[in-house]
Amino acid sequence: MVGGSPPAYRARRPGRLTPVSRWLFRRLLQAALTFAAAVVLLFFLMRLAPGDPLSRLAGDRAISEQELEFLRRRFGLNQPLVTQFRAFLGGIAQGDLGVSIEHYPEKVTSLLASRLPATLLLGGTVLLLNFIVGVWLGVTQAVRRGSRFDRWMTRLALAGYATPSFWLGLVLVAFVSLRWHLLPAAQMTDPLLPLDASPWTRAVDVLRHLALPALTLSLTSIAIMMRHQRAAMLSVFRLDYVSAARARGLTERRVLWRHAWRNTLAPMITLLGLWLPILVSGSIFVEAIFNWPGLGSLANDAIAARDYPVLLGTAMLVSGAVVLAGLLADVGYTIADPRVRQE
């Protein structure tokens, strides 16, 4: 254990920020700058990519040059890039991300708002499953190291780790939906569910539709989580303070969760920080396979159609989530580990 006297803190002068607040302020500023740089880069890089954003509107029908010009004017695509950027910044200042080209006249903000709940539901379920099941399996494996359970879970984890989620999704659809007819193959809700259906009926319906995409995304990521958790736990088990806790006569459960597991939180928080953006970004492949109406499929469509406003909107949301997740992970470290706070 770390011994010695606690560090001496100087009395804070009124009006001056504490070191933690200063750190937090600096970190927030850094996050805001990172986000701004990402937005600027996204705006220009998207427009540098080859492709015409009017292609999806034209589809397979013949479309004249006059009509193309008309559409370019409508979406401001005939303006110089700098003018477009200025208009974009002006829009952001008013909370307006513009109008979708493909889903004209739908506003990007309302499109994002309509797709966000589905993505949050799927991403949130996956994160929850990852952490609850992944952590529990990883800890149990570490506790029962070398047992048959440990060996089998290790094999399963490696298999899960190596399985591409899109393939797993297709297999689950083929068997669970099409062969055994146990769960729906796609969509988020039953299209003919009555508008006056009870909340319970609605919840069951959504859960039935959620099961396969959540399982597809979770099975692979739980494997990663449990491998990390197992390794972290094993490294902690070797440390003196765990032996000391046992020597003090604490119950094994208390030793495990209160002393050992708490000290494995740092790598888990790192993983959480990496996965948190999934909450908003969704998964392009899995959303496509299950026709899940989330942000992943919206972004995928926007990329294919070069729907710049929607693409920028989703990219900004994901960038924001990445930056925010990094920030939250840093704050998480300081909460979970007092040594980080002191540094």
């Binding site: 292609s55 397979d60 004209y104 193959a185 299209p191 299950f290």
Partner: protein, 552 residues
């Protein structure tokens, strides 16, 4: 004193009452042929309002809510005004060769109960003829000079000149909107208006709700003047992924799949008694478009493809039969001109260039294309006969056909470099002329006149991206479009002239495929729209399922 009821009447009274009761009871218990339908399609119909420029998905769904004055009859020529089916117009007549008169059906109502009047038709034509609203539509309506209302139910449409498809232009290009609801909305604000969020039409189905990204729902218009629809609810789902669409069909989530792929669809439905495949000739055309100008430089002729003999030799070197069979199975028909299987002029197309590899080799040789260096690719003046074939990577059908065509042409000594491009890039390159050969797929206008856009000199500033131009062909097409006497022979001559120039290798007109649940009856599908006759479909009362609603 009341008269006594005769004995015979008394004896008959009870059985008669029992019979009447049984009849009423059986009528009440007769299973209903009403129901619902869930359709899955490839694009999201976010704004199914006719005047908005939009995707095919919007146009398709608008068919369920907005009628036209009249609609081309199934299998009838679009230039034969007697072959049309009445919709908003009850009848029509001619005052002279330049004037059409339509009598509106007085029973026609908007979904808010207001009668459809001549004012709606006049306003809608004015809006659609405004080139600032929809330039392409305005171009199609350019021959119309005036649209006037003589009274509440009589519309008079005058034309600049006489031509066979006046009636088609007057009826097909415009789906009227309710003037009383939209005439105060400026065109620039129309798309964002409340009307577009909750459109009010005059067709068999009314707007119910839309959940962005998930589904759109329409409900039957019980007061529809042409007859109440039997399907009470039409729910439209969308998915970009064809496999996801097929999975939704196979797990029973949807009842119909519009635009099924011929490659995998029929095979996956094989032996499944729940669905049947409906196929119709379509207005779709697949062709290899030759660029007449240099790659990316329209100021210079194409160094290889400007020579019509080379184009002809390439056409002679392609054996379409195995290519189409392996891709579409039985669901396509060969094309020899820009005419599809659903066009009334399809029987007028002369036989095209047949498969003749020996003739192709000889022709290339005559034009100086010889394999001098023995590398398998012909060359001339040091220039190898290599061509870039642009291919939209999102089309599975084109992706299957391209390597087969590449191999067939390689055997002629022609090198084909396939450039698989994602949609946005393919579209941009096509419009800029950055291709030697473009693997094109297009949905044509139901009128054969549509070829003006892509196969005449005038179209070069627009959709004629191959820059093909032959004034002689232009004048033949113009004559075919405008001649009121014997248009058949004029179309035949125009197609023959096009074939001589070989501006493209016309491959096929694929049939449109639909998978429909077998519980539906009266299933008819129009070539111009899957959705146009859904309101006539009904459910077999013996085969109702839960989502069809209460059975009696």
């Amino acid at each position: 004193m009341p008269r006594e009821v005769p004995v015979i009447a008394r004896r008959l009274l009870v059985p008669a009452l029992l019979l009447a009761f049984a009849t009423v009871a059986s009528a009440r218990q007769r299973p209903s042929d009403h129901g619902s339908i869930v359709i899955v399609m490839g694009g999201e119909p976010s704004t199914p309002v006719p005047t908005l420029l939009g995707m095919k998905a919007n146009d398709d769904v608008s068919e369920l809510m907005f009628l036209r004055l009249a609609r081309p009859g199934l299998g009838k020529s679009v230039s034969d005004e007697h072959g049309y089916e009445a919709e908003l117009a009850r009848s029509w007549s001619r005052r002279d060769s330049l004037t059409l008169v339509f009598e509106l059906d007085p029973r026609a109502r908007w979904h808010d109960g207001v009668p459809v009047t001549a004012r709606d038709i006049v306003w809608s034509f004015e809006r659609m003829r405004d080139s600032t609203v929809d330039p392409d539509r305005a171009l199609l309506l350019r021959h119309i000079t005036t649209v006037t209302a003589e009274n509440d139910h009589r519309v008079v449409i005058r034309f600049r000149r006489a031509y066979p498809e006046q009636f088609y232009d007057a009826t097909y290009q415009v789906q009227p909107l309710p003037a009383h609801l939209v005439d105060t909305i400026p065109p620039a604000r129309f798309a964002g208006s409340a009307f577009v969020q909750h459109p009010i039409g005059n067709g068999p189905y009314r707007w119910s709700r839309r959940e962005p990204g998930r589904q759109l729902e329409l409900v039957a218009n019980p007061g529809f003047f042409l007859g109440a629809p039997k399907l009470d609810r039409v729910v439209i789902l969308f998915s970009r992924d064809p496999d996801a669409r097929m999975n939704m069909l196979l797990d029973g989530s949807v009842d119909a799949y519009e635009g099924m792929s011929a490659i995998s669809g029929p095979k996956r439905l094989e032996g499944n008694p729940a669905y049947r495949i409906e196929s119709q000739p379509s207005f779709d055309l697949m062709y290899l478009l030759f660029n007449q100008r240099a790659y990316g430089d329209r100021s210079r002729p194409h160094p290889i493809l400007a020579d019509p003999d080379v184009r002809r030799a390439l056409a002679m070197g392609i054996n379409r039969v195995p290519v189409l069979r392996s891709t579409y199975g039985a669901y396509s028909q060969g094309a020899d001109a820009p005419v599809t299987g659903a066009h009334w002029t399809r029987s007028l197309v002369p036989a095209g260039i047949g498969y003749d590899p020996a003739g192709a080799r000889a022709l290339l040789q005559r034009r100086g294309w010889i394999d001098h260096d023995g590398d398998g690719i012909r060359d001339k003046d040091g220039v190898p006969l290599n061509l870039r074939l642009n291919l939209y990577s999102g089309s599975a059908e084109r992706g299957l056909m391209a390597p087969q065509i590449q191999e067939q042409l390689r055997q002629l000594g022609v090198g084909i470099e396939i450039q698989r491009l994602e949609g946005a890039v393919w579209f941009a390159r096509r419009n800029k002329g950055e291709f030697d050969i473009d693997f094109s797929g297009t949905t044509m206008d139901p009128s054969p006149n549509g070829i003006v856009q892509s196969w005449t000199c005038a179209g070069r500033s627009g959709t004629n991206v191959g820059q093909y131009c032959d004034p002689a062909v232009d004048s033949l097409i113009e004559r075919a479009m405008t001649s009121t006497r014997n248009p058949e022979s004029n179309w035949r001559a125009a197609y023959a002239a096009l074939q001589r120039d070989v501006p493209a290798i016309f491959l096929a007109s694929p049939r449109a495929l639909f998978a429909v649940h077998t519980r539906y009856r009266n299933v008819t599908i129009r070539p111009e729209s899957f959705y146009g006759s859904i309101w006539r479909w009904s459910v077999d009362p013996r085969r109702r399922i839960a989502r069809d609603g209460p059975g009696a």
